[in-house]
């Protein structure tokens, strides 16, 4: 797969945002940014309300995903362009989620909302109403999703990539520093995990670094064994979806899973090993 199969840039979006068969979707946890201004013709997906089960901690099921996409007017053969704030974390999470449910034609807007804003490109408040469709999802593809038992079994066996900031990895912080630090889980990281913060894969403006830079980052610098399977995690699975995208989609690593339970699950488990400090 090449970069152009999974990424578009802002110029491409400006030229194609009215094309039939192209659907722009803004994804975020806090959708007030969309409400204040979004790219013309974009519909919105709310990471929490639309993509999380309201009762259990899990995804919406296949039927729920079909209902969501049908209501947003997205067809199975549409090209879906995802973008969002927070350096595209939630858009990358949605990308992984769309792939999990078998949507073939989906791409990310490189740089997401931030690059678009820093370029001073147009945002609108008109909300487009797309006609309802009848979307059919595939069964979830668990070859790209990791669960806790598999993560524990992977200690020392597979590549574990902790994509949080160095301060969360070492145990100094329990959450990204824009969030209060009062959290229920223990601090630290999964033993044998390598710390490659998601931010190292992106430029300041939110665009992805070049394939060569990315290969150097995970290979030469972090010492990831590309011959082994990989599990990426963070605190709740969005930042690691960004890294999953880099490893699986940009660098074409065949066996990469995102552990969406991540530190909020692992750091709350009784009896599992935890390592503190800068890692080895």
């Amino acid at each position: 797969m090449s970069r152009s199969d999974v990424l578009v840039d802002a110029d491409w979006v400006e030229a194609h945002l009215g094309d039939p068969g192209v659907v722009l979707v803004e994804v975020d946890e806090d959708t007030t940014a969309y409400d204040k201004g979004h790219i013309a013709n974009a519909v919105k997906i709310d990471w929490k309300k639309d993509l999380q089960d309201p009762v259990r901690r899990d995804f919406v099921d296949k039927h729920g995903f079909e209902e969501l996409l049908s209501a947003r007017g997205i067809s199975n053969d549409d090209l879906v362009i995802l973008y969002g704030g927070n350096n595209n974390w939630f858009a990358a999470y949605a990308y992984w989620y769309f792939r999990l449910y078998g949507h073939a034609n989906v791409k990310l807007l490189d740089g997401g909302r931030k690059k678009w804003e820093l370029d001073s490109r147009d945002l609108v408040t008109d909300v487009v109403q797309r006609p309802r469709t009848s979307y059919h999802a595939a069964d979830p593809d668990t070859s790209i999703r990791a669960f806790r038992d598999e993560v524990i079994a992977a200690i020392g066996q597979r590549n574990l990539v902790d994509v949080r900031s160095p301060d969360e990895f070492s145990g100094k912080l329990l959450a990204p520093a824009h969030l209060p630090q009062e959290q229920a889980q223990r601090a630290g990281h999964i033993p044998t995990a390598k710390n490659v913060p998601w931010s190292k894969a992106a430029n300041d403006d939110g665009t992805f670094k070049s394939d060569d830079d990315l290969r150097k980052l995970y290979g030469d610098e972090a010492g990831l064994d590309f011959g082994r399977d990989t599990i990426a995690y963070c605190r709740i699975g969005e930042r690691s979806a960004h890294t999953w995208f880099v490893l699986h989609e940009l660098l074409d690593q065949p066996k990469v899973k995102n552990y969406d339970g991540s530190w909020t699950e692992y750091g709350s488990l009784v009896g599992v090993p935890i390592e503190l400090g800068a890692g080895r």
Partner: protein, 108 residues
């Protein structure tokens, strides 16, 4: 707040301070250009190795807020037109460090 873990999303301007924030090491501030608040832009928090730690979009008053840990940090501001500024700040628990960051006005 339910049992569902909160995502890691950063609201514009940062998370509000509450009565539970008294033990936090808060770094906050506002960004202006030519005396007016910068409403479109981003504040990034870097640790003392220059590594990225967090980022929030600026609020409508140009404001941002981080919940850090004791130590020295850098706040990097990005705004349209390539404007940027770095400010170093120290933080400690139970203290709020407030910055006033100015960037070049657009077109100046």
């Amino acid at each position: 707040m339910t049992g569902e873990p909160q995502g890691c999303g950063a609201p514009a301007g940062g998370v509000a301070v509450t009565e539970n924030s008294s033990g936090e090491a808060i770094i906050q501030g506002t960004v202006s250009a030519g005396g007016a608040p910068v409403q479109v832009g981003y504040a990034r928090l870097l640790n003392d190795d220059g590594e990225f730690v967090a980022e929030v979009p600026l609020g409508s008053d140009g404001g941002f807020r981080f919940f850090a840990a004791p130590g020295t940090w850098t706040v990097r501001v990005l705004a349209p037109g390539g404007a940027r500024a770095d400010e170093t700040v120290s933080a400690d628990r139970g203290r709020t460090s407030t910055l006033a960051v100015s960037v070049a006005a657009p077109g100046s």
